[in-house]
Symmetry: C2
Subunit: 131 residues, 2 copies
DNA sequence: CGGGATCCGGTCGGATACTG
DNA sequence: CAGTATCCGACCGGATCCCG
C-alpha cells in the first residue's frame, strides 16, 4: 500500500494528498524556472550556472540541483580533472518541463509593463473612492 | 529614475535586480498554479476556490488572490447580497499565464510515474557503488 | 459567506567558514 | 572549482479567533 492520490486512474494535483503535488512544488519555483531556463541553452558548469542565475546562493543552487537530478530533470557529470569539473545538462524530461518554465519566464519579461500599469491602477484606487 | 533591470530594451529575469523577477516569483508558485488552474475552468466564489484547491488555507488563498488581483491577473466582483457573494474571474492576462501554469500542472500529473522511477533509481544508487 | 488579525512553529534561504 | 556544514534571521504558511 502507498500514498495514492485517489483510486481511479492518474494523479490529481488539486488533491492535497496527491504525491505529485510535491513535484509541482519543486517545479513551480522561481529558482527552478531560472535554472532550467539557463540549462535549456546548453550544459553548464556549476560556476557558469551560478553566474547565469544572478543572485542565487550556492546553497540554493546545490540544493535545487540535487533535487532536480534526483527527479530525473538533469544529469550531473563529473570529469576527474584537477580542479574538478562538473557539468550539468538537461535530460529529455528536463527539456520538456523546461520549455513550460521558459515560457513563464519569457512571459513575465515581455508583459511586465502591463503588470506594472495594472499595479499602479490598483494601488491608486482606494485613495479616490467611487464618486 | 527608477529601478531598471538593465539599460537596453526589455527586462531580464536572469538579473537579480530586475523588478520583473518579483512577478516570476508570484507566478512560479504552487498555490498560484493551482488557483489560476481552477479559475481557468470558470469564475469561482471564495469557498468554491477553497474547495477546488484542496488543502489551501484561507490565509494563503486571500493573500494570493489579492496579489493576483493587484497585478491584473484576476478580477474580484462583490455582489451586495446578504450574506456577501464574491466572485473571482480571470482577466485576459490571467488566462494567458494560466495556460502556461496549467500546462505545468498537467505535465506533473501525467509524468509522475516517470519521475518516481527516476527517484527510485537515484535513491538506490550509492548503496551499490560502481563495481 | 468572505474574509481580517494574530500567534507561532517550521522551513527557506543568505552569509560565512572550511575542504579535496 | 565545486562543493559541504553551520549559524541564524526572515517569512511562509497553518491554526485559531473574530467580525459584518
Amino acid at each position: 500500500m502507498e500514498t495514492t492520490c485517489d483510486q481511479d486512474g492518474p494523479w490529481d494535483v488539486y488533491l492535497r494528498s496527491c504525491p505529485c503535488r510535491d513535484v509541482l512544488d519543486l517545479l513551480a519555483n522561481k529558482w527552478t524556472a531560472l535554472m532550467l531556463g539557463a540549462l535549456a541553452r546548453g550544459p553548464h558548469r556549476f560556476g557558469e550556472l551560478r553566474r547565469a542565475v544572478d543572485g542565487i546562493s550556492q546553497k540554493m543552487l546545490t540544493q535545487n540541483l540535487r533535487q532536480l537530478e534526483r527527479d530525473g530533470f538533469l544529469t550531473r557529470t563529473v570529469y576527474p580533472t584537477t580542479p574538478p569539473t562538473v557539468e550539468y545538462a538537461l535530460t529529455e524530461m528536463g527539456a520538456e518541463v523546461g520549455a513550460h518554465l521558459v515560457a513563464l519566464s519569457t512571459w513575465s519579461q515581455a508583459n511586465f509593463d502591463r503588470i506594472r500599469s495594472a499595479r499602479e491602477s490598483y494601488d491608486g484606487r482606494e485613495l479616490q473612492p467611487v464618486r
